[in-house]
């Protein structure tokens, strides 16, 4: 067992704790970016001028009328950029564009004394556009050959030959749309010059270091002239990994030009129409099976809808290709991945980061083909699980494949799968208009950034003379409980009570060159760094305590704020006493910690290596009930068994599992991004651009019974205190909802046929699918109704 993963006898990690800011959350005392911004006197508000075209040239921009609006202070345009007019890391995202690339693209920003003044000023700005032809859908982009970034192929064995030899071959098109993050707190930044005269940014960002870099680069400053702090975010989910940077830069330019604090908070519609989303994909596939349901080959072309700029589309695509296998051994695979360039928001990171899209493909194939193969879908899945000694198509040995089998067996038992399946069959037989479905799906998800360099982290730990501890680390808190876990890690590593440790806000002047808090790695990386810093301090304090207790430093034990020596009875010190003594002896009580993930390698050209430190496993069993009249449904029960290693903080982990699951279910069943694909004036406009039209799961979508079990005996060697990452994997447990719906739909028909289900599986989509299933049952009495094409949508409401 590595020292990193080893826990002391009485660890603080592993105890269920609510979120460290819970008391602040419930009372409203916890501050978010705009809470700070509106409390500062003299703050200006920035407001965008958004283009009403999907693609157009900006022929003229007249800002003077805005300056006539009372309270308007300034209009920011490209001429005001002191450094580089680009907010991306790939140089393809002009901050003030001369070519509008999507409907809602901001062409300039107005600064006002009040939000109302800035808004009215933005309305007054006059812009002449020359509209250009646009590409909105992925099929349109494919037709036009409009791609961006690298074209990737993942390959194992000869998929064509394997397909040719396969007894059963299926093919299809799987198309699914993206997802709006809908973090409850929209994008927000506040910029001002601090007391020391440096540019200070408070921002909702998952990547403070990159926000700092982009702001510096846009303003022509060096990184040490810009400090970015992220106190907390009201949700991130990947949406704040890349896209806050340019917005922070706008606020920073405003501050540079006016000398005044500038706040920029997108309202919900601005956020939805300007910022990127989960990538929708268009996939064509062929899959070959043997007569026992073993997958023999898969051949697929995946086209991701990247939107107007590259952003994180390449690594998202990479993760999709690396998760096409999910938990299944696919002996022959050829998958071709491309990023389409369309005139839409630039799609970006979203919890799972391509993983859900890859998993979608294989789960869709298995769920669709199972009835035609005559095999129970849950059994079909289990038959194809990885077993010991097998590797992924990209060459990484699958460690602990037995966990997947064990989790599956446990879930079968915990959920009462067999008995309930039988009950459902009886229920369905006696209910012509109401059908239930119970489905199980697995997840195997790789943890680590695919880019090896990102797998590093820093921390700063300070012990004061009174024994109190203050920690800083590079990770951002967006609700996932990272700070709670880091407090527990520090208390465990130093051997103090949890209450002795405080955490200071994440800032680039405390811990430099940090990675995004993303890819579920926040606790792994920053936990490693925090522990490293604590270990250094404890090692020095042990020398001091050894002297005080009369034992060798290696025989000093720190636990729960008490310091003892092996074999020393009747004498114990407090952590504070040792800290005080260390100070008097001029022993350093602070340390900067560092962590890098060992053992990773990845060759993106050869598409080969071991990019992941380990795999997280889990499985879910979901039961739904579908109303045959309308296609409406409810989720009756969900059981989950999930592998978080030895949990650092069980209440936090269960919260991540439940929340991820429901968010995934939202993507797969409810959340419906619709763009105007007509040739009218609104072409390219996002039609579902507010909470009233884009519906998130609410209480009515919560599973009526929801049982989450953390997989036991799950120690993960080589990871902080034996734990595993939890942020993203559970999202993909929600495929069980989609598959349960498919099974309930299938129960309206005769069985034995492929059941296609559109995505998201809204009540309407389910209705058309079950109508088709019914028609299979009675082909002679086709009803007049049939599913429409996803027709161009013209109206706004």
């Amino acid at each position: 067992m590595s020292t990193l993963s080893q826990r002391p006898e009485v660890p603080v990690v592993g105890k269920p704790e609510p979120h460290e800011s819970a008391a602040g959350h419930v009372t409203g005392a916890a501050l978010y970016t705009d809470d700070i911004a509106i409390s500062r006197a003299d703050t200006l508000t920035a407001w965008p001028v958004q283009a009403p075209h999907a693609h157009a040239l900006v022929k003229a921009l007249r800002t003077e009328p805005a300056l006539d609006v009372p309270g308007v202070v300034r209009v920011l345009t490209a001429a005001d950029v002191p450094g580089v007019n680009d907010s991306g890391v790939r140089g393809d995202e002009p901050l003030f564009p001369t070519e509008v690339m999507y409907y809602g693209h901001a062409v300039c920003w107005v600064l006002g004394e009040t939000q109302e003044a800035a808004r009215l000023g933005a309305e007054a700005v006059e812009v002449d556009y020359q509209p250009l032809p646009s590409l909105i859908t992925v099929p349109e982009a494919i037709e036009a050959g409009s791609y961006q970034g690298a074209h990737r192929i993942t390959r194992r064995a000869d998929a064509d030959a394997a397909l040719a030899a396969a007894p059963r071959v299926f093919s299809g098109v799987t198309e699914f749309s993206g997802q709006e993050h809908f973090y409850l707190e929209t994008m927000a930044s506040l910029a001002y010059y601090d007391e020391g005269g440096q540019l200070y940014i408070q921002a909702g960002t998952q990547h403070p270091s990159e926000t700092q870099e982009i702001v510096a680069h846009v303003l022509g400053l060096s990184n040490n002239e810009v400090t970015v702090q992220c106190l907390r975010m009201g949700g991130g989910f990947g949406g704040k990994e890349m896209q806050p940077h340019g917005l922070a830069a706008i606020a920073a330019i405003g501050t540079k030009l006016t000398g005044r604090p500038v706040r920029l908070r997108l309202n919900r519609t601005q956020d939805m129409t300007m910022t990127g989303k989960r990538h929708g994909f268009y996939v064509t596939w062929q899959a070959g099976f043997d007569n026992d349901g073993k997958i023999l080959a898969l051949k697929a072309t995946l086209t991701a809808d990247g939107g107007w700029s590259l952003d994180l589309s390449e690594p998202v695509l990479a993760r999709a290709l690396c998760h096409l296998d999910n938990a299944y051994f696919i002996p022959a695979l050829e998958a071709d991945g491309r990023v389409a360039k369309t005139n839409k928001t630039s799609q970006t990171a979203f919890r799972g980061f391509g993983g859900p899209q890859g998993v979608f493909v294989i789960e869709d194939i298995l769920g669709r083909c199972a009835p035609a193969l005559g095999i129970d879908p849950a059994d079909l899945r289990r038959r194809n699980f990885y077993t010991a000694g097998q590797s992924t198509p990209y060459g990484q040995p699958v460690r602990h494949p037995e966990r997947m089998h064990d989790i599956w067996s446990q879930l079968l038992e915990d959920s009462g799968f067999a008995a309930r399946s039988a009950q459902i069959e009886a229920f369905n037989a006696s209910n012509p208009n109401l059908k239930r479905g119970l489905a199980m799906t697995p997840i195997k998800f790789g943890i680590s950034f695919n880019v090896a360099a990102f797998n590093q982290a820093g921390a700063l730990v300070l012990v004061y003379k009174d024994g109190s501890v203050l920690i800083n680390h590079g990770g951002a808190e967006m609700g996932q409980g990272l700070h709670t876990k880091m407090l527990q890690v520090a208390a465990t590593a130093l051997g103090v009570e949890r209450s002795a440790v405080r955490l200071a806000p994440t800032r680039t002047d405390k811990v430099p060159n940090t990675s995004a808090t993303a890819a579920s790695t926040g606790a792994d990386l920053n936990g490693g760094a925090v522990k490293n810093a604590c270990d250094q301090i404890q090692e020095r304090m042990a020398v001091v305590a050894g002297g005080m207790l009369g034992v060798n430093p290696s025989d000093v034990r720190f636990s729960q704020g008490r310091v003892t020596g092996l074999g020393v009875f009747g004498k114990e010190l407090t952590f504070a006493e040792v800290a005080q003594a260390a100070y008097m002896q001029r022993v350093q009580l602070s340390a900067s910690g560092y962590y890098r993930t060992e053992g990773l390698h990845w060759d993106p050209e050869a598409w080969f290596g071991s990019p992941f430190k380990y795999f997280a496993y889990g499985a879910a069993a979901t039961e739904v009930e579908v109303d045959g009249f309308t296609g409406a449904y409810r989720t009756r029960r969900v059981d989950i068994v999930h592998d978080v290693g030895d949990s650092l903080s069980p209440m936090i982990d269960i919260g991540q599992i439940e929340g991820g699951f429901v968010q995934g279910a939202g993507w797969l069943t409810l959340e419906d991004l619709r763009w105007d694909t007509s040739d009218g004036e609104g072409r390219g406009r996002l039609l579902t651009q507010a909470a009233g039209t884009y519906k998130l799961p609410s209480f009515s979508e919560m599973p009526e019974e929801f049982n989450v079990t953390l997989f036991d005996r799950a120690h993960e060697d080589g990871v902080i205190y034996g734990s595993k990452a939890v942020g993203e994997p559970p999202l993909m447990l929600a495929f069980s909802v989609r598959e349960a719906l498919r099974q309930a739909v299938g129960a309206f028909g005769p069985g034995g046929y492929e059941i296609e289900l559109a995505s998201p599986a809204t009540p309407e989509a389910v209705f058309w699918a079950l109508t088709e299933a019914k028609q299979l049952a009675t082909p002679a009495t086709a009803t007049s109704a049939s599913a429409p094409e996803r027709a161009p949508v013209l109206s706004g409401s």
């Binding site: 602040g24 959350h25 409203g28 509106i38 309202n267 208009n433 309308t630 409810r634 799961p697 599973p703």
Partner: protein, 506 residues
Amino acid sequence: MDQTNITVNGQRRPLNGASAHTTALDWLRGNRLIGAKEGCAEGECGACAVLVAQSDGDGGTMWTSVNSCLVPVAALDGQEVVTSEGLGTPENLHPVQEKLAIAGGSQCGYCTPGFVCSMAAEFYRRDRTPTADGAAHEDRVPADGAAQADSVPAACGASDGASEHGPNGFDLHSLSGNLCRCTGYRPIRDAAYSIGEPAADDTFAARRDRPAPEPVPTTLEAADGRFIRPATLADAVQLLAENPTAVPVAGSTDWGVEVNLRGRRAPLVIAIDRLPELGALEFGDDELEIGAGVSLSEAERVLDGRVPLLAELFPQFASRLIRNRATLGGNLGTGSPIGDAPPALLALGARVVLASVDGEREVELDEYFTGYRKTVRRPDELIRSIRIPLPLARVTAFHKIAKRRFDDISSVAIGFALDITDGIVTSARIGLGGVAATPLRARNTEAALVGKPWTEETARAAAAVLDSEGTPMSDHRASSSYRSAMLSQAMLKFFGQTSEELEVTV
């Protein structure tokens, strides 16, 4: 204007600086009460929820949760507001805050103050009564799926009430207007279902025993327009006669969205929600009158199931936060083709009472709508009340088709009201929403039903007719073919629901 003030968390605060269109949310936040958040600015997410002391209709006060993003702050002149900060502090949590915190009910925390306020309103609801043994909660988990082969579909139409109350009587619908993107809701539900009764020394509980603040006639003039709360209907219609472009506003749940999302401003906003003449809620001998200023929550509470069709409608109408402010009058006043009330009221044969300086007139609701968001109401008229003729039809249902069961806008909504005597349909009124530029009566379908035996054959024939009523279009909510299909499906489902009852009663 100088004397305008609001009592927030026990402290009187002057309204100075507020304009006619300033929302309560922006005003609170501008006063550094930052607990309430803007999540959507259209009353969909509930992050802005606060508590307002409103009359319980019985001489006392009800803590009522509202979306502060939709309410003009001037509408709260003289009122009492409590925010999450006022309920408790990190050192001294309110019981609801404590339950939510220890249950893991907050992750990012941004929606949390709003949840706290909605939960607190339910905590203080006087008629929240714990079930004896928590049976209502346990009912959700049938031991044997096959054994309870319920033929009445629960997945649609009426909400499954029994499954949405905690053992402590907590109604989950009180949180239907609050969205959380992080938790998946389970810990929030657990917290809600674990809250107890207010303690003996709870000051908010004690406040319920005293009357709520009276409405205060208000005039606020600012650069963006005027906000006036007249004292009487006469004053209101006079103002309207003099200012034809004025916007009359009750709950502001629709107008607030226009202000926030579409930047609309009006030279004059007239608050009509507390006009005594608009507050009727009375059963007469031959009609029920519901004042246009009565909130949907209040109507729901007072009617208490006596109009089954409305009882089915209420829980499906937006969310509790919206229903606490929204009115039937407002839902008819906007003239929207997708409002949920019109199909139900059309089925009930409702009439609309319009008032102006010239007096009153009564209009049949099915003659009220004239075009897309157009009605027979003149700019100088107010909707004073809605009248529903009695006796009510005996066989009724309200079907709402939407993506989400809580708080969604209908793709299609259908109100059914039939009288069936000796197995024969003697009268039929069917109201439709979402299938044309206006809400409408399904007259051909009604004709296909009257005089026919209430049999599956009749229902199928009527369904085929209903399928072609209206001219539904495709939009982001639903395709036109789904909308049409839902009409006929609703008829079949309605038959399925009622035929069972008939077997018992006929």
